[in-house]
Symmetry: C3
Subunit: 349 residues, 3 copies
């Protein structure tokens, strides 16, 4: 661990330091259980608890920090991201190729790449500074950009192209065959899947996520730059995901669907094939999306509807049991009125 002065950290955070700049800290602490030598990030508007032992605090302007040295920031959440990166950097393996890795003589690997134990690399291109974790498989015809990180057991099949600074967590599979078959007289014909997968710069992909290759040679299933995808997500063949989207865990996006820039899919969302999710659309977790979603719209429910309509129908539904009683009552009252009217006889014209 390396210690950092509050003066330096205030610069990193773009924050205003209150207190001595030469105090040093060496770790980000848990606000509920901090220790001397730590800095905590306080997200609340309430005062920092008196018993917090941390040597310094990051907090919004105006929050009572009990006289501790404090770096004032506008977004404590962003400050936490920046502080963790400085005080707890991710371990970086040394460049070099492990002796148990199997590298095709035709592979084009930049000199400062790290390749872990039992990795297999075919006639592929690996860019500068990239880390290929233990047990990864990089097929013939794959291209990986610079500064990427493949965690252990990632599989990149033929036709996959990664941009720069792409991170893929353990066990994910890019480039498996899309799911396509056609009936023929003798049974089913498999539609060979001969396209690829193209992942833009700065994309992060979680663990155990599958992104299938597209069908036509020269075409790609695409994920745009800056998009973040969580664990156990399925992205089918020919899907086009835009830039800077968020796709939470357990989502499934069926074939040939388009997801516009900046769209947000909550966890476990299912999207059917051949539809368009507009740019900036937001889909509530666990929604089942059966049709197009307009740009910027918020949808939710089963099946997914505009969120307000979903809430309105939901609220109405809760009133249905009472409604059934009311109508039964009304039927009785109307029958009595009818009997009453009949008893009075036909009115004079």
């Amino acid at each position: 661990m390396v210690s950092h002065s509050l003066a330096d950290l205030a610069k990193v955070l773009g924050g205003a330091l209150e207190g001595p700049g030469d105090v040093t800290v060496e770790a980000v602490g848990d606000p509920a259980a901090s220790a001397v030598g730590e800095i905590i990030v306080w997200r609340e508007e309430t005062p920092v608890p008196a018993d917090a032992a941390a040597s310094a605090v990051v907090a919004r302007h105006g929050v009572d920090c009990g006289g501790r040295p404090v770096i004032r920031v506008e977004s404590p959440r962003l400050a936490l991201a920046l502080l963790l990166a400085v005080l707890h950097p991710e371990p970086q393996p040394e460049p070099g190729i492990h002796e148990t890795a199997v590298i095709d003589p035709g592979a084009d690997i930049a000199p400062d790449v790290h390749v872990g134990a039992h990795a297999t690399i075919g006639r592929a291109r690996i860019g500068a500074g990239t880390v290929v974790g233990p047990g990864c498989f990089v097929d013939d015809g794959v291209s990986v950009g610079a500064g990427c990180r493949l965690f252990p057991r990632v599989v990149l099949i033929e036709g996959t192209r990664l941009g720069d600074r792409v991170r893929i967590h353990a066990g994910s599979v890019l480039g498996a065959d899309g799911f396509g078959y056609e009936p023929q007289p003798t049974g089913l014909a498999k539609v060979p899947q001969r396209g690829g997968v193209e992942i833009g710069d700065d994309v992060e992909i979680g663990a155990l996520t599958a992104i299938d290759r597209s069908t036509l040679p020269g075409s790609f299933t695409r994920v745009g730059a800056g998009t973040k995808i969580d664990n156990l997500v399925q992205i089918a063949h020919n899907v086009q995901v835009g830039r800077c989207c968020f796709i939470c865990a357990c989502c499934g996006i069926a074939g040939s669907t388009t997801v516009g820039d900046g769209a947000v899919l909550g966890g476990q969302v299912g999207v059917r094939d051949h539809v368009t999710i507009g740019a900036g659309a937001q889909l509530a977790g666990a929604s089942a999306v059966y049709g197009n979603v307009p740009e910027g719209a918020t949808y939710g429910g089963w099946p997914a509807r505009p969120h307000r309509q979903f809430l309105y129908i939901e609220a109405s539904l809760r009133r249905v049991p009472d409604l059934l009683k009311t109508v039964k009552e009304l039927e009785k009252r109307v029958a009595e009125l009818e009997a009453d009217a009949q008893a009075r006889g036909t009115p004079d014209a």
Copy 2:
């Protein structure tokens, strides 16, 4: 790339050639961006765009192809499958066992099998022409048929049997323990899972799919011949899936359930344990299936119902907010009628 004459391709497709049979093509093109030397598959009824540079077209009878050489077919979709197989065949690794693979001396491996780097094969049987990808694990007591393809990092646990021409995509796991526990005075007893997994001929299984072994020794979790299973699917212990089913991505089928021949499960369908999905049944994507589904029925919704009933209830639901207003209005009108009747006094008998 190898070029093929249109005369040859017309034979492969069982189509009628219009134009010179000695024109050659070497790739399937993208209809929206084709080049000379390519053949495109035109699925529409509209004319092929004038600016398509492709050297030839596959189209239905009667579609205007602008004078280009054309192979007329009944199903352009099937033609695409057949064309891709001929013009863009999947790379086939050479037979041979990689020097880093670890093979048990008791393994029974046909002479023309390919075993990739870092694969591990126990006392298992591997049939002729099968490809075992890099990093696969084939346990003791596993049997793999002829002409199978295991993509990288597939795991086949003890008791798994594959038929012929089975394809399993990267990272899938067959034969893990089913999920079974029984309460006992000291806590929970694990129910040991000592059965196997049996996969029929011509089955294809996507990436990151799990099929659990059955419970009783000598019994099997089964997937029938010709069935196709997509990515990230869960098939629990003792499940019996029939022949020629389609199970789309992200489905989960709970323990001891039966899925009849030819059933189709859309993406993200959940099916509870111990139920029967009839042969030829179709389940809409994201349905939650809590009970038996009759043969040939189409079900959908949460919970799943006959599809017509689902649509009818869905349509009714959208009318509930208006219904609430109507009933409120009716209550007022009935109250007025009642006041009116009361003002008139008791009718004469």
Copy 3:
């Protein structure tokens, strides 16, 4: 196979033997297709079929076993679990480290550990009697207890700690980064995930399940002792799962959510972030949980509601189409009454 006497097995099951104790059996049979030398577990109250060839039966008291030797028990299901463990024990690999495994010199591995082919172990601690399967990856800073079993291709990232007797099935990933990003002027800042994953004693985790590391250094995503987790489950960063929970396949639990002791999640349940599932709560399969669930409550539905309320609303929904007709009819009848009243003129005051 080793044969066991019924006298011995009766002791193991804590059951009452009816018949000769020196009869031996060597396998658990399928009740529908048993053979001589087998013992079957009969779960029904009906008589054991006359044609069952099994040499012995386990059954509840009072069930007619046709004169076969029988061990009487209270719970045949528990008896099955115990019998399978005795008659069909799981194969145990011999202690020893495979020559193709790559072990960091700083690793602390107990002498009787088994490490399979192509496994990679960093500066980690592995407890006595643990089996590390082929192709597993155990990162620097990981701690694995005694008597654990890691099936093939399991990945344990830096910061993961397993208790004793933990079983993790093939392909699962513990310790991947949680899904956290914060907006900043130049785009998005990744929130580094620098915590760990802590798994209690006697936990079992299925295949292809992901449990993410927590955010703050020194903190943990936790799974309590005795909890059982099925295949393809996602547990996000900072989640706290209690003791002795059951989490069925395909569930997703979003970030920072708490699941109390003994809670049961059916298959494919989704739980949103930052909520609390009370101890002993039961969530029906495929439920979408958007809020807190009280202790001991049973919830189900989309969105999840108390189960009775769910059933009540469900039943009401099925009556909505009829209700629409009834109200339309009522409107007509009221209009007629109104016309009738108007024809009568204003009543005398």
